[in-house]
C-alpha cells in the first residue's frame, strides 16, 4: 500500500497546465486481440461564463496482439456557438505487461492531434497503470503533452487522471474519478458498464460528472463515452 501511495503522490506532483478540457477518459492498459470499435466521446464543461463542448467520433483496430490504433474526428463549439469539425487525432494504445502477471499492469498511449484551421499540433505520451484489489480496480494515467503551431506558443504540459472502480456487475461499475493539470483539479463520481451482444460484439459505456475543487466559481464537466466493439 505504501508503494501505491508513493506512486499516486509522485504522479500528482506533476503540476503543469493542460489547456482545454482536462477531463477526458481514463485509459486502461489493456488491448484485446482483434478488437475493432467505433467510439463516441462527449465532454461538456460549464463555468460561470462559458460552456465548452467537445465531441469525438473514432474508429479503432488492434493491429497487433498488444497494440491498437484509433482515429478520431474532433468537433468543438466555437466562439460563435457553431459546432464544427475542429481537428483530427491518431492514437495508439500499447499493452506493456500481461494482465495480472506483475504487481500492477502497465500500458502506454501515444496521441497526435492536429487542429483543423491553424496548423496547430499536440503530441502526447501517456503512461497507464492499473492495480486490482479484489472487486475494485485503481487506474492511473500520466500524460506528457507537447503543443506547437502557428497560433499557439510551444509548450510542455502534463495531465494526471485517476479512476477507482468497483466492479459491481458488468453493466454497472461505479467509480470515483480525479483529474488534474495546472489550475485544475477535478473530482467526481462516474460509472462504466458493458453489455455483451454476441461473440466479440459488445457495447461499452462510461460517464462521469466532475467538479473543479481547486478554485472557487463554477466549473462542472459532464462526460460520457459509448463504444461498439465487434
Amino acid at each position: 500500500m505504501n508503494k501505491l501511495l508513493t506512486l499516486i503522490l509522485l504522479l500528482m506532483s506533476f503540476n503543469a497546465l493542460a489547456d482545454g478540457i482536462v477531463v477526458d477518459r481514463v485509459y486502461h492498459p489493456y488491448v484485446t486481440v482483434n478488437e475493432r470499435e467505433f467510439e463516441w466521446r462527449f465532454m461538456s464543461s460549464q463555468t460561470d461564463d462559458k460552456n465548452i463542448l467537445n465531441q469525438k467520433l473514432g474508429y479503432g483496430h488492434a493491429i497487433f496482439e498488444k497494440v491498437a490504433v484509433e482515429f478520431y474526428i474532433i468537433g468543438e463549439r466555437d466562439q460563435n456557438d457553431n459546432f464544427a469539425v475542429s481537428g483530427y487525432e491518431l492514437e495508439s494504445r500499447i499493452m506493456l505487461t500481461e494482465q495480472g502477471q506483475y504487481w500492477a499492469d502497465w500500458g502506454a498511449v501515444i496521441e497526435l492531434e492536429k487542429a483543423n484551421a491553424n496548423e496547430n499540433y499536440e503530441a502526447s505520451v501517456g503512461l497507464l497503470f492499473e492495480k486490482e484489489f479484489t472487486k475494485t480496480s485503481l487506474t492511473l494515467n500520466l500524460f506528457g503533452i507537447y503543443e506547437w503551431g502557428k497560433t499557439i506558443e510551444s509548450e510542455w504540459e502534463t495531465e494526471f487522471r485517476l479512476k477507482y472502480r468497483y466492479r459491481y456487475m458488468p453493466e454497472i461499475q461505479p467509480s470515483i474519478e480525479l483529474y488534474s493539470g495546472e489550475d485544475f483539479v477535478g473530482i467526481g463520481p462516474g460509472f462504466m458498464g458493458v453489455h455483451r451482444i454476441e461473440g466479440q460484439r459488445q457495447i461499452k459505456w462510461e460517464a462521469g460528472f466532475i467538479t473543479e475543487v481547486a478554485h472557487s466559481g463554477k466549473n462542472h464537466t459532464f462526460r460520457f463515452a459509448f463504444e461498439y466493439e465487434f
Partner: protein
C-alpha cells in the same frame, strides 16, 4: 502556462520504473491447466488456492480461436487456434468464479473454485 522541469520528469520516470522493477521478481507460481476442445473447457471446474496468484495455462485444441472471458476474474484473453495462452489470476478470496468462451458461450463454460489450502497438504 506551466512548464515541467526535465530533470524532475526524468527522476519521476526512473522512480516509476524502479517501483515496477521491484515488483517483477515473482515467486514461483502454481500452474493450472485447462483444455479447450470441441468448444468445451476441461475440466469445467478447476480448483485453486485462496489468496495466491496462480498461472492458468489454457490449451486451445480447436481449429478456431476462442476468447476466454470472465467478469468475475476480470480477465479477457484470446486463445488462438491450436495454441496455448497463459492467464494470471488472483490473489482471490474463496468462492466460485465463472468463466466462458466468448465465441461459444453455450458450451465453453466453467468455474474457477477458490478454496483455502489445507495446511496438512
Amino acid at each position: 502556462m506551466g512548464s515541467i522541469k526535465p530533470f524532475s520528469t526524468i527522476y519521476s520516470c526512473i522512480t516509476l520504473l524502479l517501483l515496477t522493477a521491484s515488483s517483477l521478481a515473482l515467486a514461483e507460481l502454481k500452474v493450472f491447466t485447462l483444455t479447450l476442445e470441441n468448444h468445451v473447457f476441461t475440466p469445467q471446474e478447476i480448483q485453486i488456492p485462496a489468496n495466491q496468484k496462480v498461472k492458468l495455462v489454457i490449451e486451445n485444441k480447436d481449429d478456431l480461436a476462442e476468447e476466454f472471458d470472465s467478469f468475475d476474474l476480470n480477465r479477457e484473453r484470446v486463445i488462438f487456434a491450436n495454441k496455448k495462452a497463459s492467464i494470471y489470476i488472483g490473489p482471490l478470496e474463496p468462492g466460485r468464479y465463472e468463466f466462458f468462451g466468448e465465441f461459444n458461450p453455450h458450451t465453453a463454460r466453467g468455474y474457477v473454485v477458490v478454496k483455502e489450502e489445507n495446511k496438512d497438504d
